[in-house]
Symmetry: C2
């Protein structure tokens, strides 16, 4: 796969699986019925945020996944990055999330960030938690019952962090 | 003092001390040179956010402090409130922060939130940390060196939380 900066032309390849992931309501603190214009504004807000896509370079350039990088806070907190990731369910098991994670960590270093923080990793999303741990993140906070999971009820949200 | 819903007419009474607090760069993760239009949009974004002011009912209605209440996350995370507080330095020592805190906790309960979370309490802001502890909040997370303090260098940010 190839990972490159996302362009406006990539949105039609992102929206179908992003919508599906958000609608499932298991991993993202977005409105489950988010409309396309809002989703696009949230995912591709423009500078200082950056977005990348992982595309299938052996096939037709299908978008396999996408990631967003942005300051987690503003002003005196803007040296800590935040990042978000969406992988197409059709591309599960191909290492897209890990490749995007490694890429975005490098990108964040290149942009001058000193650390990266995730604010709301759903504790029941065990694959994501394990992936981020394997990429050097530690759990630095836990919001008790911060997330309403559609089948598990209230579950915790984790704050995860690593220095860069 | 009287605490009531903020209106557009309160902004001229809020902006001078809000600007001063943000410019000091010791407690808020906002751009220190925030312009007035951005500050107003951040502080008074409209529903579902709520804003209140504490005014001096023994004098001329001077704004002593203000607080903002909003969902901390969207969608499956929107049952947890976030709140922010600004107290005019001219009104320090009068219990304005505590009164606003208690008021906003009641307001959050009335709005149906299940918990309240602060994402970025500057660890060196010891009075704020002590106030929130006395109002029932616990530290549930710590972001190492998440804040660039103008005189203390990098200091931690605390995530604080309480059930409602």
């Amino acid at each position: 796969m190839l990972i490159r900066e996302a362009t406006a032309a990539d949105w039609p390849g992102i929206w179908p699986f992003l919508r599906r992931i958000v609608a499932a309501g298991e991993t993202y603190t977005w409105p489950r019925d988010v409309d396309e214009a809002t989703a696009r504004r949230l995912w591709l807000p423009g500078p200082p945020a950056r977005a990348v896509v992982a595309v299938d370079d052996a096939a037709d350039g299908t978008v396999l996944g996408t990631a967003k990088l942005a300051p987690n806070q503003l002003g005196p907190g803007d040296h800590v990055a935040n990042a978000s990731f969406m992988v197409s369910p059709a591309a599960a098991g191909r290492g897209v999330g890990r490749a995007l994670g490694a890429h975005v960590l490098d990108l964040a270093r290149a942009e001058g960030y000193r650390a990266m923080q995730f604010n709301a990793v759903v504790a029941s999303n065990e694959r994501a938690v394990a992936l981020w741990r394997s990429l050097g993140f530690a759990v630095v906070g836990r919001i008790p019952e911060g997330f309403r999971h559609p089948s598990r009820g209230y579950v915790d949200l984790l704050v995860m962090h690593r220095q860069l």
